[in-house]
């Protein structure tokens, strides 16, 4: 399963133009200053944000192609998506949040809940499965969002700053969980502000600035030889 995309999105004065290929089980980390287009890139891949031009191919299947006018709606893409800030369904319990995707696609409630509990346990949230999700702390909510993305048996993972609110301990736990699921062969795009996430998880790092790829390489290579001021600052933060 390979994710191959050329994403062009133009909105007002902002323009994003990026090519990317993520192989089976590969993790591409995307970093960049605020407003560089990280979230737009991720949301374009989910189908939420329409492409101005370009294509998105997943394992040979066409999700988007502006030359033929093809676009698969977000609900049929079977991607594991965690958007920024978690965005849980506040009126539902943590368990129902995680079970939401499978249930929406017709899995029986009991089965979906059992699977949800397993994922929540994996992420250290077994005790909070029944809690209303708007009562969870920021870090707990973020882990529920990761579990919710994994629960749909996705063909690829798209995670927008999934570890931002996590403390050191839960962060490494959550990284391990993501790593395990990626290892089953999921191409993964990880938007992050922390080079450590990239160094720990990613095979490739894309530094995005002003909607363009400013630098690409292994996370270590970028850390060792940053090409832009932003990359240098990010590298200095972990040195």
């Amino acid at each position: 399963m390979t994710l191959d995309a050329h994403v062009v999105v133009e909105r007002g004065t902002f323009s994003l133009d990026v090519r990317l290929t993520i192989p089976t089980g590969g993790v591409l980390a995307v970093m960049g200053p605020n407003g560089s287009g990280k979230t737009t890139l991720l949301e374009a891949l989910t189908g939420i944000t329409p492409l101005t031009a370009g294509h998105v191919h997943l394992d040979g299947a066409v999700l988007d192609d502006t030359t033929t006018g093809t676009t698969v709606p977000p609900r049929d893409r079977r991607l594991g998506v965690a958007l920024q800030d978690g965005l849980l369904f506040g009126h539902l319990s943590a368990r129902e949040n995680v079970a939401f995707g499978p249930r929406a696609q017709g899995t029986r409630a009991r089965e979906a809940r059992t699977a949800a509990d397993a994922l929540l346990t994996e992420l250290g949230l077994a005790a909070h499965a029944r809690a209303r999700s708007d009562r969870l702390s920021g870090g707990q909510a973020q882990r529920v969002a990761i579990a919710r993305a994994l629960a749909v048996h996705p063909r690829a993972l798209l995670l927008d700053e999934p570890f931002g609110a996590l403390d050191v301990e839960t962060r490494s736990l959550a990284r391990d969980v993501v790593r395990r699921h990626v290892a089953r062969g999921l191409p993964t795009l990880l938007v992050t502000h922390d080079l450590r996430d990239a160094l720990d998880l990613a095979d490739e790092l894309l530094v995005l600035e002003d909607g363009r790829a400013a630098q690409r390489g292994t996370p270590q290579a970028v850390a060792d030889d940053p090409a832009t001021t932003y990359a240098a600052r990010v590298a200095a933060a972990v040195a």
């Binding site: 989910t46 958007l83 369904f89 708007d134 749909v152």
Partner: protein, 305 residues
């Protein structure tokens, strides 16, 4: 930390603001503390007058209420009948408004609706229209010689005017906009990004509406239903024009009150108090649920950053 650094760094601006030419700047300040400026005073008086206009009539009503005879007056079969009719029709109206009003609100809340402004205007017209005009219009549509009414009569032998169904239709006409606009506001306030997340999880629009959007706007729907019910309960003009004033079938409490003002003023007062109590009770009950309805609180805590 602020004291030495701040005063040292910026003595000029703080000094200028805090100590103006001695006496000159201080007097108006002290003056302002003791006596509010005339403008504020006028506003306050006008506000009190406004409140009095709303409250004094109700005070007069309660003062005139024959509390001792209240039970007897209210237990009168005519009053009981009118009250039952009012509650049943207003209940039906609220149900009808929920069934058709929530989808209408959902359509209106979509930004991609072509001619959305026109639909919204059409929904708003009954809100500003005198109810009597609504009654006339309903009669011209569904009356025996009306646009639709004549067909209904010749084809099915059905006549709508002057029946309890007509009461409900008249109430729907005046109450539906309240529900639609309230729910539309709630839907627009709901976080659209959560609906997008649900979509990426494989949910169809109908599923998103049922399990994400509607629960999130439930307090708004409850508020809209409460407004709708109380408005229906008080409907007079459209009802009397379109449904007439027949005891048992179309004489709701407002109509009975109006009639009784001539013949049995005490009963009119008693029924008025009854309506007041029911209306206020509905508002209080809904308000309690609104405040305790939590989703709003949870929504603002996260996600709105």
């Amino acid at each position: 930390m602020t004291t030495p650094a701040a005063t040292g760094a910026a003595p000029a601006p703080t000094g200028a603001g805090a100590s103006p030419p001695p006496g000159a700047g201080r007097r108006p300040n002290r003056h302002a503390l003791r006596r509010p400026p005339v403008g504020t005073l006028v506003l306050g008086v006008l506000a009190v007058v406004g409140l009095a206009l709303l409250v004094l009539p109700l005070v007069a009503l309660l003062a005139a209420t024959p509390w001792a005879d209240m039970v007897d007056l209210v237990a009168d079969p005519a009053v009981v009948g009118a009250m039952r009719l009012s509650l049943v029709t207003a209940g039906c109206t609220t149900a009808v408004c929920l069934v058709v009003g929530v989808p209408l609100a959902w359509v209106l809340a979509r930004d991609d609706l072509p001619g959305g402004w026109l639909v919204r205007s059409l929904v708003t017209v009954p809100l500003v229209l005198p109810p009597v005009v609504g009654g006339v219009a309903l009669l011209l549509l569904l009356g025996r010689r009306g646009l639709l009414g004549s067909r209904l009569d010749t084809w099915f032998g059905v006549t709508v005017p002057f029946t309890s169904v007509a009461v409900v239709l008249a109430q729907v006409f005046v109450a539906l906009p309240f529900l639609v606009l309230t729910v539309e506001g709630a839907l627009r306030g709901a976080d659209r990004r959560r609906a997008l997340v649900a979509e990426t999880l494989g949910a169809t629009p109908a599923y998103v509406l049922r399990r994400v959007t509607l629960p999130a706007v439930a307090p708004g729907i409850a508020a809209g239903a409460a407004l709708c019910f109380t408005r229906a309960l008080g409907e007079f003009g459209a009802t009397v024009t379109f449904a007439g004033n027949f005891p048992g079938t179309t004489r709701t409490v407002p109509l009975a009150v109006y009639l009784a003002m001539d013949t049995a003023p005490e009963q009119a007062v008693a029924m008025s108090v009854l309506l007041l109590v029911v209306s206020v009770a509905v508002l209080v009950a809904m308000r309690g649920r609104w405040v305790g309805g939590l989703p709003g609180r949870g929504r603002t805590r996260r996600g709105d950053r």
